[in-house]
């Protein structure tokens, strides 16, 4: 069974209590329609499991298949530099059907980012390497499509709509 490489660490975007008993990691693509569906599933899980659940998002942009997947990943990372990763993550998935470069700027404004810093960071090679490092870690962890989930470090091979069933076990 493929396992998460590297394990969740200080570089990750983590939402939830540090003492949570369930650690859910997603490798996702902001333009992938299945990831959008999974986004709403994860929201429900977060509500249901509350303090028991810690959620981590890593980038896995299929940039050849999805024109704006890489830009969206960079936008979320640029937002992270201003401590607004999750706001941006949510905003992009909520409005995924309209996704393009202009939308990313609009969303950056809406989540309250310093726009000059945002556009500068979007261009920074360091941010691109970060997204690529996420992608490479995904490949090593056995990601074979998006979204792919890991529950407490082990790849979850089932349907993401049924994730709650493995979390209660």
């Amino acid at each position: 069974m493929p396992t998460l490489i590297p394990p969740v660490n200080a570089l990750d975007h983590v939402l939830g209590a540090p003492d949570a008993t369930i650690e859910l990691v997603e490798y996702g693509d902001f333009q992938c329609p299945f990831c959008r569906e999974a986004f709403f599933v994860v929201k429900e899980l977060q509500e249901r499991f509350a303090r028991q659940l810690r959620f981590v998002f890593r980038n896995f942009p299929l940039s050849e298949a999805h024109e704006y997947a890489m830009d969206a990943a960079l936008a979320a990372e640029a937002a992270a530099k201003q401590n607004r990763f999750w706001e941006m993550h949510d905003a992009i998935y909520n409005r995924q059907p309209e996704l393009n470069e202009a939308l990313l700027l609009t969303l950056a404004k809406e989540v309250g980012l310093d726009l000059q810093r945002f556009t500068e960071d979007m261009e920074a090679p360091k941010l691109l390497s970060r997204v690529e490092a996420d992608f490479e870690s995904g490949v090593r962890s056995g990601v074979n499509g998006t979204p792919t989930f890991y529950v407490n470090g082990k790849r979850y091979n089932g349907d993401y709509r049924e994730l709650s069933s493995v979390l209660v076990k």
Partner: protein, 153 residues
């Protein structure tokens, strides 16, 4: 199915209706062969779509990726254009499945290639092979590991 240590059978297959790929011409490079049943499987979980994103990682290991299925060259052409695939998809079309048979990865029952991976070294020797359940995208972790081992040896 051919295993580690065996010589990779040579072949010449159409990459496009106008261009052929001869395995022997790739000596000096590592070659990844990805046999798969058919073009046009669903996008986000598609094996070839994933590999398409990985070409520059493979390049770091001096490796060339070739996809192989029994689909015809025009079918590959349409599939590659639609998905913007940037590596060669070879047609094991005539005589049908001959290369898949030579590698021991032809599924007689359905008349398609099995889902199988081979990593061949710069001297044409198979260094790693893997047969995946047909409905399971094997990802690329095994390929990367095999290429890493090649680099370190």
């Amino acid at each position: 199915m051919l295993q580690k240590g065996e010589t990779a059978p040579d072949f010449t297959l159409e990459a496009t209706p106008e261009r052929k790929v001869h395995l022997k011409d790739l000596r000096g490079k590592n070659v990844i062969l990805a046999f798969y049943p058919a073009d046009w499987s669903p996008v986000c979980s598609d094996q070839m779509t994933l590999y398409n994103e990985m070409l520059h990682y493979f390049e770091k290991y001096n490796a060339v990726l070739l996809g192989i299925s029994v689909d015809g060259a025009w079918c590959h052409h349409a599939f590659a254009s639609a998905r913007q695939i940037h590596f060669d998809l070879l047609s094991d079309f005539e005589p049908k499945g001959a290369v898949s048979i030579a590698y021991g990865v032809y599924e007689e029952k359905f008349g398609v290639s099995k889902r199988a991976l081979f990593v061949i070294d710069a001297n044409g020797i198979i260094q790693w092979s893997y047969l995946s359940p047909v409905n399971e995208n094997p990802g690329a972790d095994g390929i990367l590991e095999a290429l890493e081992n090649l680099k370190n040896n």
